[in-house]
Amino acid sequence: MTQDLKKTKIWKSIFRHDFSDTPRTRLQRVFGNVFLHLHPVRVPKDAIRIVYTWGLGGLSFYLFLVLSVTGILLMFYYRPTTIHAYQDIKDLAFVVTLGGWLRNMHRWAAHLMVVIVILHMVRVFLTGAYKPPREYNWVVGVILLVMTLFLSYTGYLLPWDQLALWAVTVGAQMAANSPMVGSEGPFQLPFITPGNDAKFFLVGGTIISDNALLRFYVLHCVAVPFLFLIFLSVHLWRVRKDTFSRQTGEKVDVWPHLVSRELLAALLATVVLFVWSLVVQAPLEGQANPNVTPNPSKAPWYFLGLQELLVYFDPWIAGVVLPTVIIVGLMAIPYLDLNPKGVGVYPRMERRKLGPLPIWYPAERPFAVTVFLFGILLWFALIFIGYYCRGPNWEWYWPGASWSHRHLSKLTLKNLPNLWGGLLLAGYALQGVPMPKRAKDRIAGRLGPRAPEALSGALHIGSGLLMSAALFIPLLTAPDPDDPLRSHHATLFAALGRATNAPLVSACYRLVERVGPAMGFTLIGLLAATMGAMLGWLSARCAALKDRLYDDLGSVKYAIVIALLLMMLGVLGKIALRLLCGIKYVISLPAFNFNI
């Protein structure tokens, strides 16, 4: 009977080979199947080890499929109009068979996909899989990451609840603050009005309403997935063309070795999603109400890092310039990292000693790995702060502390005068200046063999002292720029010291009160000098690395790398300045909305 069935033309036209496990059928299964055909027929054994890839790329793709399927099902129940959308979501939750579960699946799969895509990027970076010939595919990958975030963001509005409306408002407001093309941003072009700026383009109106909902719906369900598929095809195709990054080990057949792993990973992901969707309900708040702003209004978690940055920088810098720099910087990585080592392996960690502390040190790509991981950690730290540590009025609350709308910040913030802020930034930029080999040779020839090192150390410590002076001198002496009436009598330091609980400043103030001005100011001066010198010493310790980097990369690439690095560390520095010293902006040019 089965034999007869197998002889029919219908059977043969569907299954074009038999199922015996022979090398020939293994090949046929991959060749003869349009879906599996994406794979090569044979791959190196080590390339598909789970502990190498963790299945992250495949999982990203699988989650995209899950999202497409659940999304299509959800589209049957959803009308993108303000009067229907919220009710449709309620219907999904309450009356559609498995409707709530379906929505949960879609929601949680989207979150999971963002996480997995980011982890995939980290994995690719750590194993050096972006290095030639795979540079271009890394760029495509970054585009896919951005699209994943944009897909999540557009989907966020659709339930039309308070959470959605206000999260999207935060994002749309960032668009309104774009330089040149935003009606609230700096350097506005003359013809830009709220009726034709970037926010209008994004939300289809001056307020977030029916047009925005329709626009986000089309973007979310059609436009972005369409583009996503195109880039996804390129991405997968490039993986085929560029081969896997790890080429060790004997070659094995893709069927069954790779296909079975993919299947298992997909199954595992589905089980996780099933459980997640059964246990945790997707959030749905009250119906969107443009007149009632929840306090705090938070962006979706993957954008909370940016929202947290809004505290420290002008909206157009935190919301437009920094994300652009991050994206372009990510794309530039393969073109800036010329180190050919470390392809196809995780960084080998060497145990070293930094003073008394044991540290693990990536031996082959110390700079690249450290900087990249630091950036990722910083990003997630900002997200953590935004998600768990911010309450009403974006005040700081420790996780678990209960929020109170009556809590008022006692941190009074002042701007540094621009002159001193400029000096501070100049000192900071000087930390990044290298000493090229040529210059070293010349100095060594003229002043003796130890001179370059001494000079470099002196320069670093000097610029460290400059920074510290630029910070402390205005704190101690400059008149209060916000209150010119008092400026003859009070220094900014005094104003801050009385008015702020910024820890460093109030500690200084108390010190002066305790031991008298002469002694106190001397002590503060000593402290400032020590801090500056320490900072300089730290970067002097990195001088050799910088010089080598400069010699390897040449001036242009070095400038880009060091600028990106300084910006990244600068974000941390800015956070410290605000929280410790109560400094709002280092440089403030209100005429250009330029406040950093």
Binding site: T97, V271, V275, S277, E285, R406, L408, K410
Partner: protein, 408 residues
């Protein structure tokens, strides 16, 4: 190994899917329906609809699924004594046929929901929780302008409206265009989203009704402002609310709460609403003083100056002992024209007691566009009469014994 994993994961998947289907098939409402059907005999079961029930009321834009569990609400012959299987009390359903009105337009709650707590709207993210007990009277005012005719059904609402007039709330608050603008407009108080309210000092549930209720009892506990010690240095203190503590009883506070909840911006279609019966203006007062008392009452002067102008309401950092002035002694300080001018122009800002502290929150608004000249005349008559009526007058001094020297 892989095969085992594959089989195990697939089995898990099937089990989880079955669990999902099972949970979906045994939702709360199915349990209630089954319990109800069990209580019936076979004849009664016939023709009883099963599954999710919903009343769609197009004109009101509402879909109410309450009858999914409250199965016997319009079938008194089948109803049981326990919730949710009771029949609707009274004749209300005859007057308000469910297919025209639904449930939530009167009762509040979340009509779309099919689980108990969400359906009753007693969850964080639903703005109209079920109006339990007498609170439901708040809904009647949505349509019924003719409150006099349904008097017996809305005792609390009536009491609330009367209290609102008696206490002089209109002196500071506006409702539907009538009243002063010293404090907030109350026209849509019943819609106020909880996100705009501070529940820090509310002891009961975090609902609008509870907030209003506690605020009526102890306004300064619920909105205490900020003392200097709570504020960053250099900030001005924020006074507690100047809403007076009227010393309301529980019933009175509840009555006023019901009235507040009844004030919504929701506009129902014209065919649902009954226009207000024109109020009969009491006419033919005997004296200007009595007419003046009516003016005093109508415009809510009592809200700040106290009933009968006795004063005693707090006004932070105002001169005169941080209180709103009592009106008993106006006769001593003002003549007719001065008093009229003061009422016409109001007094804002109020002189401060301590110039370093922020300005007093309450002030005398200008009345010149609100009071007619005759009303003003009557009011002034009334105010000038207060001294005699409110202050215990010393007994008339008896004539001195030695009057005129006797002749001769």
């Amino acid at each position: 190994m892989k095969r085992v994993a594959f089989v195990a994961l697939s089995a898990w998947l099937v089990v989880l899917f079955l669990i999902a289907v099972g949970l979906d098939a045994t939702q709360e409402w199915t349990v209630y329906q089954r319990r109800f059907v069990k209580s019936l005999n076979r004849d009664e079961r016939r023709g009883l609809p099963g599954g999710i029930q919903q009343i769609q009321v197009k004109p009101l834009g509402r879909v109410d699924r309450c009858t999914t569990c409250h199965v016997a609400i319009d079938k008194p012959q089948l109803a049981l004594a326990e919730q949710p299987f009771t029949a609707h009390p009274g004749d209300y359903l005859t007057w308000h046929p469910p297919e025209q009105f639904g449930c939530t337009v009167c009762h509040g709650g979340q009509g779309l929901a099919t689980q108990v707590r969400p359906a009753h709207g007693e969850i964080t993210h639903w703005e109209q929780p079920l109006l339990r007990g007498p609170l439901i009277q708040a809904s009647c005012l949505k349509c019924h302008g003719n409150l006099e005719e349904i008097n017996a059904h809305v005792p609390l609402l009536r009491q609330g409206i009367q209290l609102y007039d008696r206490l002089g709330c209109a002196g500071c608050h506006t409702v539907h265009g009538f009243g002063q603008t010293v404090s907030i407009d109350l026209s849509d108080m019943g819609d106020k989203p909880w996100q705009l309210l501070d529940f820090t000092f509310v002891e009961g549930d975090h609902t609008l009704a509870q907030w209003i209720d506690e605020h009526f009892r102890e306004p300064r506990r619920v909105t205490p402002g900020y003392r200097m010690t709570e504020l960053p240095p250099g900030e001005e203190e924020i006074y507690p609310t100047f809403m007076p503590n009227f010393g309301l009883t529980d019933d009175q506070a509840r009555a006023l709460t019901v009235y507040m909840l009844s004030l919504t911006a929701e506009s129902l279609p014209a065919k649902y609403t009954i226009p207000q019966t024109p109020r009969v203006q009491p006419a033919g007062y005997a004296t200007a003083v009595e007419r003046g008392r009516a003016v005093f009452q109508k415009y809510g002067c009592a809200g700040c100056h106290g009933e009968g102008g006795l004063g005693g309401r707090k006004n932070w950092n105002a001169q005169l002992g941080e209180e709103e002035p009592s009106l008993v002694y106006v006769k001593m300080t003002y003549d007719r024209d001065n008093l009229k001018q003061l009422i016409r122009d109001g007094r804002q800002p109020v002189p401060r007691r301590d110039p370093a502290r922020p300005r007093a929150p309450s002030y005398m608004p200008a009345w010149k566009d609100r009071l007619s000249e005759t009303e003003l005349d009557d009011l002034v008559e009334y105010l000038l009469s207060l001294y005699e009526s409110q202050v215990p007058q010393p007994a008339p001094v008896s004539e001195p014994a030695e009057a005129a020297p006797t002749e001769g």
